[in-house]
């Protein structure tokens, strides 16, 4: 952090970040939604979504990133994702078993809307993983920023 007036890195980094961050987020969402027909899934996609916010934070400083997704909001989103996943699991009791894939019609294979609960679970997991990892990152970075530990040495 060379100049305190303008947080974040240099202009070049900021411009490139502005171009790429949306694409990274979009790629993460793509990976999540296609988890059941191609490699990827909720975890990988969730981490990519978290990384896009981390990218924003590294390039522009914490204010910009936290305006997009505050720590409290991340924490709430994470809990919501967890509850969503647990409720999908508990809804399996409708068919008689915990964690039952309760959709009778599994849809046409190789299409986006297929495989019953698997895409839904992927979405819940990605929500939880993305928000959770971002919360971890924010907690660690904010702490070392405020308490005199040199966060990085440029």
């Amino acid at each position: 952090m060379k100049n305190n007036k303008e947080p974040g890195m240099t202009l070049i980094v900021k411009t490139i970040t502005r171009l790429t961050v949306g694409l990274i987020l979009l790629y993460g969402i793509y990976i999540v939604l296609h988890g059941h027909i191609s490699p990827g899934g909720g975890f990988a996609g969730g981490v990519i979504i978290a990384l896009s916010f981390v990218h924003l934070m590294l390039a522009f400083g914490r204010e910009v990133a936290l305006r997009k997704l505050s720590q409290a909001a991340a924490s709430i989103l994470e809990s919501l994702g967890a509850i969503m996943f647990l409720s999908i699991a508990v809804l399996g009791f409708l068919g008689g078993y915990f964690f039952l894939n309760f959709f009778l019609n599994k849809g046409r294979p190789f299409s986006l809307f297929s495989a019953g609960i698997i895409p839904l679970c992927n979405i819940a997991i990605s929500l939880k993983v993305g928000a959770g990892l971002f919360a971890i990152f924010v907690a660690i970075v904010l702490f070392s920023r405020d308490s005199g530990i040199p966060p990085d040495d440029k």
């Binding site: 191609s38 490699p39 899934g41 975890f43 294979p109 190789f110 993983v129 990892l133 971890i136 907690a139 660690i140 702490f143 070392s144 308490s147 005199g148 530990i149």
Partner: protein, 112 residues
């Protein structure tokens, strides 16, 4: 067989790092290497010579696929490793804030 053995050597490098290094970050790195080695071992035992990735393609008969179970398990193990690392880094940062050092021999002395 030689592949398994190389994988266990990686495991032992991590073990050596955890047992012998006195720096907190180095210990976390050693644990990371151990996790990599175990995950790698799990995937190695599921590999099938000349096999295909366990993803079905249209109009294709399933003949020879690698074992999908270890892959599913390792996916879980990777995330567990990430969780452990994150928690330990958090503890390490707090320790640095309280003691001003990453060296565990010094930390022990400071504790008195």
């Amino acid at each position: 067989m030689s592949v398994y053995f190389l994988c266990l050597i990686l495991f032992c490098i991590g073990l050596y790092c955890v047992l012998r290094k006195r720096n907190i970050i180095k210990i976390i790195i050693g644990l990371g290497i151990i996790e990599y080695a175990v995950n790698l071992f799990f995937v190695l035992i599921g590999y099938r010579a000349g096999g295909r990735a366990p993803i079905l393609a249209k109009d294709q008969v399933v003949l020879n696929m690698v074992d999908p179970i270890p892959q599913a398990l390792v996916l879980t193990a990777i995330v567990i490793g990430l969780a452990t690392t994150a928690l330990m880094v958090a503890i390490a940062i707090r320790i640095y804030e309280k003691f001003g050092t990453f060296d565990i021999t010094k930390i022990r002395k400071l504790r008195g």
